[in-house]
Structure formats: structure tokens, C-alpha cells
Symmetry: C7
């Protein structure tokens, strides 16, 4: 298991479907939008200046939208994962 440090989050990237339902390939520009992912593990939070630890807003299993090109790719147990900071997560899909 990977336990991220601080305000980091381990995510599994959800590949955007490159074809629409009717089979039309999307132009490249459309793929420059942020990516979606699933939260696999979260850190214990960020330490504030007053010494308290602020827990993360996201939790394991959350479906998220995050800034493209953020984070670091890792391969763990044969699975491609991404470790990003919570600040690079834009929104949770509910």
C-alpha cells in the first residue's frame, strides 16, 4: 500500500474516452481539459502554523477532477498511479 505524506493524495487516473458515443474522435483541444481520477489513498493532512493538522477534504474512493500535468507518476504493484497535492484537485464529482 502507498501512504502519501502530508496533503498529498494517490489517485488512479480515469482515462478520458477518446471517442464519443457515436464513435467520433474528439479533437486534441478537447483533451487538454482537466482529467478525472479516483482517490486511492490520502495523506494525514497539512500542518497549520498554529500546530494543528488540517485533514484533507477528499477521501478514499472519491471521484475527482484535477489539473492536468500536475503530480508525479508512480508505478506500484504494476498499477500506474499519480501522486498529487490536494491543492491540484479542482472538484469532487458527486
Amino acid at each position: 500500500m502507498l501512504k502519501p505524506l502530508g496533503d498529498r493524495v494517490v489517485i488512479e487516473v480515469l482515462e478520458a474516452e477518446e471517442k464519443t458515443a457515436s464513435g467520433i474522435v474528439l479533437p486534441d483541444s478537447a483533451k487538454e481539459k482537466p482529467q478525472e481520477g479516483k482517490v486511492v489513498a490520502v495523506g494525514t493532512g497539512r500542518v497549520l502554523d498554529n500546530g494543528t493538522k488540517e485533514p484533507l477534504e477528499v477521501a478514499e474512493g472519491d471521484h475527482i477532477i484535477f489539473s492536468k500535468y500536475s503530480g508525479t507518476e508512480v508505478t506500484f504493484d504494476g498499477q500506474d498511479l499519480l501522486i498529487i497535492r490536494e491543492n491540484d484537485i479542482l472538484a469532487v464529482v458527486k
Copy 2:
């Protein structure tokens, strides 16, 4: 539903009308001004150094003016939205 994180806001961009009432097309320079939008969802706020969470000033449904070119475009449920930080919102139209 998209739930933005922290001090982020999801907005629906209100397209500026490119023609005036009398049908005259506005010059490009006029379109470089900030854009208008409608707040669709707001984050839970920004965590201050003393550990409290400062709620956002804007609320769902607010009509706002925001800095052009700020934020990240997302397409959700076939709707084009923009996720921006509250700091890029200049004013609320009341």
C-alpha cells in the same frame, strides 16, 4: 454535481452579447473586459492559519464579474463550466 474544493467556485459563463441592441458589432477591444458568470457551486472555504475555515463571500446563484482568462474549463454533464478561485471574482452584480 460538481463540488469544488477549498476557495474554488464553479461558474457558468454568461456570454457577452456581441451585438448591441441596435445590431452594431462591438470592436474586439471591448470584448477584452472581464466576463460575467453565474455561480453554480461553491467550495467550503479557505483554511486560515489559525485553523478556522473562512466561508466564501459568494453563494450559489450569484451573478458575478470575474477576471478573464482565469480558471479551468470543465465539461460536466454536457455543460461547459469554469472552476475559478474566489480571488478571481471581482464583484457581485446585485
Copy 3:
């Protein structure tokens, strides 16, 4: 009405008279000085790290001097306005 966010201020720019009383046109260099404006609306203030909100020093109706080229132009109800941060206001004319 435009309600600016945080430490922002909406101002109406007061155009510098380009001629002196005796009708002499001022040289360009003289026009590079800061501009004058009238405060139209003020934000609720800046949130400090201790969680309190610091109200603005300026108030609606104040005649101010502000740094040229600061802020963002907006057109609202056919009126050209400028939204600036209080930090770009140099002084109040009393």
C-alpha cells in the same frame, strides 16, 4: 449595483483636465502621474490570518488618488468603472 469582493473598491475615474486654466495643453509626461477617482462601492474587507475581517479605510463617496494602470475596467449600466484593490489607492483627498 456592483458589490466588490474582499478588499476591492469600485471607482469612477475622474478624467484629468488636459488643459490648464489658461488653456495650455499639458505635456504627456505630466499625464503619467496617478489618477483621481471617486469611490462608488467598497468590499467588506480583507480577512486576516487570525480570522477577523479588516474593513477598508476608504468609504463610498471618497475622492481618492490611485496608481495609474492598476485595476480592471468594467462597463456597468453604461457607466465605465474601475475595480481596484485598496492597496492601489495612495491617498484620500480631504
Copy 4:
């Protein structure tokens, strides 16, 4: 009257005499040193992160030395003044 905001100070620049007592013109390099001024008005101070306002160290009438090229020139009531931040004031001449 000009009332500067925050930690700003309005000063009247004291022109350096370009000739020495014996009438010798000083070389340019000598004129690159900081300038002297007289404080005309002071702001109410800088707001600290704990919410208190720190009053300025200088007061109206003080004879000061300040960093050349700092601040913004304003012309008010036909008088050329300079608005600078207290941080650009190096010392008070006593």
C-alpha cells in the same frame, strides 16, 4: 489635504543643492545618493496579522532620508509631492 492610506507617507522633496558653498558643481555620481524630504502627512499605519494597527514611526514635520526613485509623484494644490511607503524611509534626521 492628502491623507495617505495604510503605511504610506506624503513628503515634500527637499532638493539637494547642486553647488557647494564655494560654488563648485557636484559631479553626477554624488547626486545618486538618497534624497531628503519633509513629512507632510502620514497614514494610519499597517495592519498586522493579529489585527492590530501598527502606527508609523515617522510623524508630520519630520526631516527624513529616503531611497531615491521610490514612491509616486503627485501634484496637489500646485505643490509637487511624493507618496512613499514608510519602508522606503531610511532614517530621520534629528
Copy 5:
């Protein structure tokens, strides 16, 4: 023994195996991913603005993943080690 200062950590780099189980050499791009290491010694922690010392999240013996190219190489007692800041550690492998 090396005792790192503050939020620093001494690690022993675990070399990535350049061949897969079946003996195939991995392409270079695959080796640009973050590196793995074993924590040899940890500092006493980072001093917060409120004067308390925040201990590190990692401990001696932890198996970690860290950002490639971070830290400073040292040779101590004939052993090649790396001194990095805890902030460059992405996750602990558990």
C-alpha cells in the same frame, strides 16, 4: 552516524532494477519516475511559527518514494547516502 537537521531525512537510495523479471531492459523514460529509498535517519522536525516543533511523518527504516533529483548526495563511511527534505518524500510504502 549522520544526524540530519530540522525537517531533513538521510536515505539510502534503492536502485531500480533495470531489467524486468523476464530480463527485458526498460526504456529510459520508465526510469524517469520517482525513486525508492530506505530512511536511515530523521531530523528532529520543523519549527512552526507558534514555536512548537512538528516531528516528521517518516521514521527510520521506512521504505519511501521520493522525487527524483531532489536532495544532496553525501558519502559517509563509504556508503552513498542522500539528504533530502521531508517535503520531497511523496509516500511511504507499507
Copy 6:
């Protein structure tokens, strides 16, 4: 008298002797080292975020070593002085 503001210090620069005891002129590189000075006047200190004023570590009369090229030269009462921030003082010679 010059009273420096905040964490500033007025110093009299002590010229490095360009010849050694035996009369040998030192090479230029040797003169790139930090300079020595004598403290002539000190500011009242730096205001911390909690509103207290931290007095300076150096006092009038101290013999100090400071970073070359730091500070601003002033001529006061015919004396060449330098106004620097305490942060540019490396050590006190005791």
C-alpha cells in the same frame, strides 16, 4: 543625528588596509570579502506579526562584519555613512 527606521543600522565603514604589514599590496580577490564597520546608530527594531517590537542584536559602538554591496550610502555632516538592514550584518567582532 541620523535615527534609522525599523531594523536599520547606520554604520561607519572601516576601510580595509590595502597593504599588509610588510607593505605588500593585496590582490583584488582578497578585497571581495565582507567589510567591517562600526555601528553609529540603530533603529528601534522590527515589528513582529504578533505586534511586539523585536529590538536589534547590535548596539551603538559595536564592531561588525557586514555583506559587501549591501545598504545605501549617505553623506551626513560631511561624514560618509552606510545605512543597512540588520539582516546584512553577519557577525559582531568581540
Copy 7:
């Protein structure tokens, strides 16, 4: 004696031996690693935002490893010393 200010430390640089035990000259790259030194004097510490002074982690006599190219060289009483900030010290050799 040199008394460094704040979080500064005076160190005596320990020259790396350029030959190994068997007399082989090390290649240049090997000499780009951090340097070792002995702490000669330490400052009183860094003032935190809450007004307390955080004493240094290192003490006089400590054998340290520090980042190459950091600090300022000084010659004092004929001895070549280096004044660095504690933050440039990587570890203490125990």
C-alpha cells in the same frame, strides 16, 4: 572572537583530502559533494513570529556537513572562516 547574528554559524572548513588512502587522486566530480566543517561559534537563534527566539540545533565544536558554495568567507585573526545560516547545514556527524 566572532559572534554571528541570528541563525548564523561561524565554521572552520575541513578540507577534503584529495587523495584516497592508497594515494589515488579523486576525480573532480567527487569533490562537488557537500563540505565538512567544525562549528566555531553560533548565533543566538532565529526570532519566530510569536516573539520567541528559537535556539540553533548545532553547538560549538559540532562536526557538520553543509551545502557547498553557501555562506560568506571571512578572514579573522589570520584564520579563514565561513559564516553560514543554519539552514545550509545538512547534518551533524556524530
